[in-house]
């Protein structure tokens, strides 16, 4: 098993425990992006675990802020925040809000309202280009989020300015808040749209670590990169996979135990 797969397994378990303890929503959204996060933080991104302001760090922005437990867990795994801090998730006055918060060490930007991460990331990429700096910007978006017109404004701008230092990753798990993407507001042909907006595109299995690493490492000289990552909402826990209700529900004691047991077996 790859080191990043082991990391992903730990992130999944940690995320499950967090939402269970806090009785919080969005576990399925978090499980959906876990493999992408594990490859980003475990292999691709440049950062310093003891200095969150390390100047040449790559910048990561979670635009689908509701999936924050996966990022908080990742930050704890790589040493940017203490593990004990995870236990404050959802508490009164905790910095670990139920949508990603820049008040947490290692988090660049708070989101929660969809469609804010990519434009902000474009600003960061523009800043790096203006100063001829080599760090990259990664923005992780949801599929439903692509309904927001501002994302397409941002892609137009990134293409026009040849921001090859930004990578947008779309977590295409095909489920939105009430129904499937297809039944809500169809995105297809998504890859063609991204190409038409001037992106260098990759279409991958968003749970295959080697493919994720390859797509994330690839850059061009001229174009922003857009990765369509086909994923499964709730990935790794059989009874959560592809089920709309796990956008909202939190596991009870028994369900948590079952979920953790499944993850033990899968990665034993």
């Amino acid at each position: 098993m790859l080191a990043t797969q082991k990391l992903a397994n730990r992130i999944r378990k940690s995320s499950l425990k967090m939402v269970h303890r806090a009785k919080a929503s969005h576990i399925a959204s978090a499980l959906s992006i876990t493999d992408i996060l594990a490859v980003l933080y475990g292999e691709v991104m440049r950062f310093d675990p003891v200095d969150q302001n390390y100047e040449v760090r790559d910048r990561f922005i979670l635009s689908k802020g509701h999936a924050c437990v996966a990022v908080y867990s990742t930050l704890a795994e790589v040493g940017l925040i203490p593990r004990e801090q995870l236990e404050t998730y959802g508490d009164d006055f905790s910095w670990l809000m139920n949508h990603i918060s820049h008040k947490v060490n290692g988090v660049e930007f708070s989101t929660g309202s969809l469609g804010h991460g990519l434009p902000f990331g474009v600003g960061k990429a523009l800043a790096a280009k203006a100063r001829a700096e080599t760090w990259r910007t990664f923005v992780l978006l949801s599929d439903g989020e692509m309904d927001e017109g501002v994302n397409w404004e941002a892609l137009m701008f990134a293409s026009h300015h040849k921001l090859s230092n930004i990578t947008a990753i779309i977590d295409y798990n095909k489920l939105q808040s009430l129904d499937s993407v297809e039944n809500t507001l169809g995105l297809e042909p998504l890859i063609d749209k991204l190409k038409a907006f001037g992106c260098s595109t990759h279409e991958i299995d968003g749970h295959d670590h080697r493919l994720i690493a390859k797509a994330l490492s690839h850059t061009t000289n001229e174009k922003p990169t857009a990765i369509v990552a086909h994923t499964t909402k709730g990935k790794g826990v059989s009874f959560m996979e592809n089920r709309v209700e796990w956008h909202y529900k939190n596991p009870n004691d028994e369900q948590l135990e079952m979920a953790l047991a499944e993850l033990e077996i899968a990665y034993a």
Binding site: H102, P119, V122, G123, K124, L126, A127, A130, A154
Partner: protein, 300 residues
């Protein structure tokens, strides 16, 4: 006002590499000096205000002081959530510059009338409102903002406004700037923005101008409310004048700021635009008069 703005910006940018100007495909005849001098720090976002404000915040998060320039409601209402979440919440140095404050673009119709902008901007906890009354106050506000980079909203008129001040005044958030001093316990007009010119003219033509004081407040904010009681209590009455609706406006802000001292409230009289101007079209002076910013109403 527009020219004073761009002069100050160009001058500051010559010695400060972090100053960036972003425009929303507007600014013909105004922004060219900056674009020519600093082409690498000038970006036209196109007609896409939400992305414009979002990437301005991203640039600002990397240490740039970003000036975002557009007309009337486009850089405010059109991208209100980007201002709230990205700029203000993250406390980033983005200065939103709107030309055509109030009814400066009266003939262009309701889309171009900025008569609710204070209401939107003053509910942002970190936002500094800069609403200068003449070109000298524009320069003063620009210098303050450049020396104190923060979320800020600069509301400008158009072009050709006369200078009321003979030199660049000292300005600080919440502090009143004196134009005419009628002494302690006088009747006082307190303006923000372009109504300074209107009231100054009115008082100059008054048969008894020495009865009045005239103050302007070009810089104000949620945080600056705390300094208002001590300034209001010096005067017999304070008439606030603004080219904005009363709801959520400057006079309302002053009432809120002084509400901890109920005895002060009776001294404050708000002169603002009647909402009947919403949807009317006409020259700025015509609409201001229709909205109630005329001699009789201002003096009563």
């Amino acid at each position: 006002m527009r020219n004073a703005f761009i002069d100050e910006l160009v001058e500051a940018a010559a010695s400060n590499d972090n100053i960036v100007l972003v425009v929303g495909d507007l600014g013909y005849g105004v922004v060219e000096p900056f674009a020519k001098c600093f082409p690498k720090r000038f970006f036209n976002a196109g007609v896409a205000e939400q992305n414009m404000m979002g990437f301005a915040a991203g640039l600002a998060s990397e240490g740039f002081h970003v000036f975002v320039y557009s007309i009337a409601n486009f850089p405010t209402f059109r991208c209100a959530e980007q201002i709230r979440n990205d700029v203000d919440y993250h406390n980033l140095p983005v200065t939103i510059v709107a030309v055509g404050g109030g009814l400066a673009y009266g003939n262009l119709g309701y889309s171009h009338h900025a008569v609710q902008d204070y209401a939107l901007m003053r509910v942002m906890p970190n936002m500094l409102i800069a609403s200068p009354g003449d070109p000298m106050e524009v320069r003063a506000c620009m210098r303050y903002i450049i020396n104190n980079p923060q979320p800020s909203y600069l509301r400008l008129g158009k072009v050709g406004e006369p200078c009321i001040h003979s030199q660049i005044p000292e300005v600080r958030p919440g502090e009143w700037v004196s134009i005419r001093d009628g002494g302690e316990r006088s009747d006082t007009y307190l303006t923000t923005g372009a109504t300074l010119e209107l009231v100054n003219k009115l008082l100059a033509e008054s048969p008894d101008p020495d009865r009045y004081s005239l103050k302007s407040m070009p810089l104000w904010s949620m945080k600056a409310k705390s300094s208002q009681v001590r300034q209001v209590e010096k005067f017999l009455t304070v008439r606030t004048v603004e080219d904005h609706l009363m709801d959520g406006g400057f006079g309302s802000w002053l009432l809120e700021a002084t509400s901890i001292r109920p005895d002060l409230l009776i001294r404050i009289k708000i002169r603002s635009l009647d909402s009947k101007v919403c949807g009317m079209v006409g020259k700025q002076a015509t609409l201001n008069a229709e909205g109630g910013l005329i001699h009789g109403v201002l003096c009563e």
